[in-house]
Amino acid sequence: MTGIVSYGSYIPYRRLKRAAIAAVLGVPATRGERAVASFDEDSVSMAVDALRDALKTAPGAEVRSLIFGTTTAPYLEKLNAAIVGAAAQLPAEIRAIDSTGSIRAGLSAMLQAAESAAAGGGHAAVALADCRLGAPEGKLEQSGGDGAAAFIFGRDNVIAEIEASASLTREYLDSWRTPGERFAHSWEERFALTQAYGPFFRRIIQEVLGKAGVAPGDLAKIVLDAPNQRAAEEALRELKVDPARVADSLALTVGQTGAAHAALMLTAVLPSAKPGDRILVATVSDGADAMLLKVAPANANFRPVHSVGRMVESKGDVTYANYLKWREILPTEPPRRPDPDRPAAPPMMRAEKWKFGLIGSKCRACGTPQLPPQRVCVKCRAFDKMDPYPFADRHGRIATYAIDRLAYSLNPPTINAVVDYEGGGRFLCEMTDCEPDKVAIGDEVEMTFRRLFTADGVHNYFWKARPRR
């Protein structure tokens, strides 16, 4: 039996109210809000958050492959999945692939991973994330969202078995973006609705249900995802299913999170699924993919580290002005401070475990954990008696902090905290996803992988602390 062994999801802390966009631009407001990746997040960093959660609930998984799916890869050349794998502390001996080009890249990656797990390749991981960016005044700016989801596929201890899958690829022009362009173009809406999304949903659903001998009425939950929410609504109407069986599109709370969206919707419905439930997942875009899942008994005992519901509730607003600055849509006066230095390749490679995995060291002589990793123990000064010691999953408390209004930031002021970890170890690092007037000595924090800055085209990823979510 091959299926989902574990999953994780990630919704960034910041929300942009659609009414706030409308108020500035004088365009019609749609309801709700969208999730916004902070200035220090991107698709890679969000994928890491989701994948780390998924790995935490898959102890002992032997991951042999990783697919990173997105339409907004931080690097066009250079393997983004390698960064995700390093930060999630996957072993070097994995196949790693970036899957991109369409919002369907997410579900396609899941099907690919499921097949490689079925073929006996140990466990297969997928990490899907997107930062949907629409031009001001356009539809996508409001309907898009940022988020991530990750899955581990395997053959044992599955929580949802893959009963059937189907894929369909067609060449037609709907949404496109060429290198160097920030915003996608799209063809007239009616064309894709009538000629692509509608017929493709119809065909793919029929095919996948047919393979498993399942009728639409047998489905406990339906996850339909399309670049245009109307396409999913029309397809659901045709299926004539009970609205209670339709998965929340997250349109009002998160927005359509591109290549991560079908997966994110699925992670939202899995916690309440009962053994034997059938869940249909389908995405249309440049064709269509579909997956039919049968929930296994093990799902009853599975608890995601962060549920979608909890992530939706854990939030803080971003103003539209700040959003425009974060996305570099609104240029601002540069600071009277030097640009940050580009991190250098040799020290980054030497420090891979530290920089990407937040692996410190622990002294064998006196047991003191310390970070960054040291050769001479800070406590007993034993020399070269260190073992690697991971800090990424440890919680800590703020010993003291600084609110830096001089440092250049896209979200000033920069907050730095001295974090003392449970079990030992101290680290001075930047805080994120928090409000300056709410930081206090003693606050509990957790670590999150972020993009600190980009210099000379090099994205500088490292870890920050955030209030526990």
């Binding site: 800070v378 609110i403 003392d420």
Partner: protein, 394 residues
Amino acid sequence: MASKGIKDRVAIVGMGCTKFGEHWDKGAEDLLVEAAYEAYGSAGIDPNDVDAYWLGTMGSGVSGLTLSEPLKIQYKPVTRVENMCATGSESLRQACYAVASGAFDVAMAIGVEKLKDSGFSGLVVANPPNDGTPACMTPPALFSLLAPAYFKKYGLDPEKGKDVLTRIAWKNHRNGARNPKAQFQKEVPMEAIRNSPKIADPLGIMDCSGVSDGAAAAIVVRAEDAHKYCKNPIYIKALSFVAGPAEGPLSPEYDFTTFPEVVASARDAYAQAGVTNPREQISLAEVHDCFTPTELVLYEDLGFSKRGGAWQDVMEGFFDLEGKLPVNPDGGLKSFGHPIGASGLRMMYEMWLQMRGEAGPRQLKNPRMGLTHNLGGQPGRCVSFVSVVGNQIG
């Protein structure tokens, strides 16, 4: 096992110090020439009389050529030294040891920094290529870490704590208003300090030292030769310099209310000088007031106040010009700004003036023993320098 020290074996016989400030019309080389020639004149010597030079600068030049070229030094040893914000003091320490050893008879320590040419706000330090993980915090933010920790440990509510910090800045500006070489020569009302725009909460811009250009120089000889050059030299009682293991960012035992490096260098310096009760025995001190919480913590680390007691001493005026132990009588970094390589020697210049009765409107009554203190780095990860000097042997 402390350092043995060179108590009373070396004397300063001449000093020079430029005005500190925004010298748009002068480069580092101009500042060096001015400080050096003032020092030659002060000691009554010819440039050829100096046998060796130690030049302190963090970023205004590399190698001895930075000094030998503008001064046209005639084929003599010039050593460029750097030890972060203690760079100026470090050049003095090296020059003193050189004459004490007998290797040279006359040495010059000189420090300079030209900061205002960078076009940036605050200090800018170039880092070696790295993995992109070191925290990119500005100096005010790094030193602001002291404030919430100190307030919490000693039960000061943030308003009271802010009053204490404000009074430190107020005192230093009040002293600087009496100093013609200071960058800022005006008293600043407490309210203006308290309400200045926030830089790193609770620090406002008036809690921070300024950015300026400047240079200062000292001529040192063996004590037995001092009276060949001047009637009233000042004597080196102690020179201590330590670099810490940088435990603060690593060890939860460090609580951000002290600089262990300062405690260690003060202990060493007091042992060298034979000081047993600094609060009573030290007549005046120039300390590294880069930010107001730094000065607050230094009072305790240098043994001027008991632990947790510095804030009360501040409020009672203990460190004022008229107080029992005037600290930063020249106005400190607060009034002078902090041209890195020059600051340590600028502190010594105030000792030179005060010990010789030449400090004008700031002149203290019969100072006998003074202390200078410099630190470089950040709380929990720094280098510290402490000197003790006096106007009499013994």
